[in-house]
């Protein structure tokens, strides 16, 4: 009935989709709250992977410690990113500036600039080649279930995305920080009036989003065995596509779309050459923007 090869491709696509989802969660959180596109999210992902790799090569600690290191560095990166690329541009608040194109898109451009600088610096420091990862840490232990083969990393990615998604929901719905994040997302001005510290909430959002991104980077780096300075670009774009498809501020929608995207890419590569697989994301992106301006799951913002 089902070609086993095809099912295997689906499984692989699913894990690729979860990778994009891991990335999309943090991305969507930042966009949903601040309505800014953080082009440097891919670099946070790369930083997370490098932080993990450095701790492995220097101390060789157990895996969960490596993950903790990546989380901590990710949080730090998020904090720094917000201070450098976003904070300085909140000072333009006069009328002419608000209406001026250059200033409205300032954070888009500044995060783009920071992402270039960080990526190039990483290349200067570590070289542009892939890093070798000790065999023990590669998440490629094969696991055979019936005729299908999995790698241990796939389970970790599944698990991590579910834990991250659940944790984020808990954080947003059940904690004080989550409440202020949701308030700022809804209405920044109103949030300020009711006494929410907007500055601190924005930092918290960046820290949380970047922590998630860094964790994703590390796990994917270990699973794919590929840690290199430009590793964040492609998943960053895919995560963005997923976010746009999912209706922008809906984290759940972004996750679902990320998985759809991963599966679609994987299926495409089984029919066409590898190179065309990358095209899928962009075609999805443009098609979504044209035909579903509010995202596949609605509830989006005005973009027309």
């Amino acid at each position: 009935m089902f070609d086993i090869f095809f099912v295997q491709q689906l499984v692989n696509g699913l894990s690729v989709g979860f990778i994009y989802a891991l990335m999309a969660i943090g991305f969507t959180l930042i966009f949903g709250v601040l309505n800014v596109v953080n082009f440097a999210h891919g670099e946070v992902y790369m930083i997370g992977a490098y932080a993990g790799w450095l701790s492995i090569t220097i101390f060789a600690p157990p895996l969960f410690v490596v993950i903790l290191v990546a989380l901590a560095i990710g949080a730090l990166a998020g904090f720094g990113l917000e201070r450098i690329a976003f904070k300085p541009f909140r000072r333009f608040r006069d009328e002419a500036s608000l209406k001026s194109k250059a200033m409205r898109e300032a954070t888009l451009l500044s995060s783009l600039a920071i992402s270039i600088i960080v990526r190039e610096l990483a290349e200067k420091i570590f070289g542009s080649n892939m890093q070798t990862i000790p065999q023990d840490y590669l998440l490629l232990t094969p696991i055979q279930i019936g005729p299908l083969s999995f790698a241990s990393g796939q389970f970790l990615i599944f698990g991590l995305s579910i834990v991250m998604l659940g944790g984020l929901q808990w954080l947003l719905k059940r904690t004080q920080v989550g409440l202020s994040i949701r308030a700022v997302a809804n209405n920044p001005m109103g949030a300020t009036y009711v006494g929410i510290n907007t500055e601190r909430t924005i930092i918290a959002t960046f820290v949380i989003g970047s922590t998630l991104g860094a964790a994703a980077g590390l796990v994917v780096g270990l699973y794919q065995g590929a840690i290199f300075p430009a590793m964040g670009f492609a998943p960053g774009i895919k995560a963005f596509v997923a976010m746009v498809m999912g209706g922008l501020s809906s984290i759940g929608g972004a996750v679902v779309c990320a998985i759809i995207l991963g599966v679609a890419e994987s299926v495409t590569t089984s029919f066409f050459a590898q190179g065309w697989g990358d095209l899928v994301a962009y075609v999805f992106l443009v098609m979504t923007l044209i035909f579903f301006p509010t995202g596949l799951f609605g509830g989006g913002r005005d973009r027309v």
Binding site: E105, L109, I117, P293
Partner: protein, 329 residues
């Protein structure tokens, strides 16, 4: 008087002084750098029309540049068309592609348009890379005939320089006339407040499409120039990072400012060359200059409003409050 003098000074600088210096310094290398700056000046001026003046941030300009380059390269190598035909045809083909691709995305606003163009640019890049039968894929197209006319002149550094300089000057003239005229005011109105512009009788969608088509036309011409002057193109020349480079140049120079676009190209391509002795930090310099410029000069080195009035005074005919003359070209 003032107008003729300014034009004369610019002409002498571009067509006599600069090539003279390059010839004396005597280096194919510096010719190469200058022609690259020229090609990128055309790209930034064209992207500036749509991103700066009309306010539609484009992140896919390199893709359209690529369409122009491949059109010219394929026509020149396959059908042996000379450069004076491939240049305009490449522009026209690119403009058609631009209209076709951008038509459905024109209603998107702000960041969504930017992202859509990012997608389009990458689609073009990946098509160039993967459609091996037509574009020869990652191998690229080599042995593209240079800028030469049988019996008149052969391909040379100086010929390339003049081809790029003349095209860039023409581009500046046409785009200047569009952006600095009242037509440019219509484009700026679309940028500032499209709803309000529409209620003043401006056909916003048509203006957006027109400016995008002009931008694509000149991007295509720039691509054709690139193909003919380098003799070899590959998809790697038309990646997302090139689009970013173009955007950075516009931002540094000042969104909406035509001379700013040229200055941006000169700085972001010239600075890495000057800094070459220290090491290859090209992209870091680009990122840093872009970041510092947004931080400290958010309107760019040559901001739109001041440059607009300066350029109109310098090259226009009149602005006379007493006689009640507006900007005349």
């Amino acid at each position: 008087m003032r107008r003729s003098l300014s034009i004369l000074v610019i002409f002498i600088a571009i067509f006599v002084v600069l090539p003279g210096i390059l010839a004396v310094v005597g280096g194919g290398y510096w010719f190469r750098v200058t022609t690259t700056i020229g090609v990128f000046a055309i790209l930034t001026m064209s992207a500036n029309l749509v991103s700066g003046t009309t306010g539609l941030m484009t992140l896919g300009h390199a893709g359209f540049y690529g369409i122009g380059a491949y059109t010219a390269a394929l026509l020149a190598t396959g059908l042996h068309w000379p450069f004076y035909l491939t240049l305009p045809v490449a522009g026209a083909v690119t403009a058609c592609f631009g209209i076709l691709l951008a038509l459905p995305t024109m209603r998107l606003i702000g960041i969504y348009f930017a992202v859509a163009t990012l997608g389009l640019g990458e689609i073009i890049h990946l098509t160039l890379l993967n459609w091996v039968g037509f574009t020869r894929g990652p191998m690229g197209i080599s042995a593209i005939p240079g800028i030469a006319l049988d019996g008149l002149f052969a391909a040379s550094d100086m010929g390339n320089y003049y081809a790029v300089a003349i095209t860039a000057a023409l581009t500046a003239f046409v785009l200047g006339r569009l952006a600095h005229s009242y037509y440019g005011n219509a484009l700026r109105a679309v940028r500032e407040d499209d709803q309000c512009a529409a209620s003043m009788g401006l056909n916003v969608v048509r203006l957006k499409i027109q400016s995008f088509a002009f931008a694509c036309f000149f991007a295509g011409v720039a691509g054709a120039l690139w193909a003919h002057t380098t003799g070899y193109i590959s998809p790697g020349d038309f990646r997302f990072s090139e689009s970013i480079l173009i955007l950075a140049m516009i931002v540094v120079g000042g969104l909406g400012s035509l001379p700013g676009a040229i200055v941006g190209a000169v700085i972001l391509l010239g600075l890495p060359e000057v800094l070459r002795p220290i090491g290859d930090y090209r992209m870091i310099v680009v990122g840093a200059v872009m970041f510092l410029s947004i931080l400290f000069l958010p309107r760019g080195l040559l901001g739109e409003t001041s440059v607009l009035s300066l350029m109109r005074r310098q090259f226009g005919l009149a602005w006379d409050n007493a006689k009640q003359l507006g900007w005349r070209q």
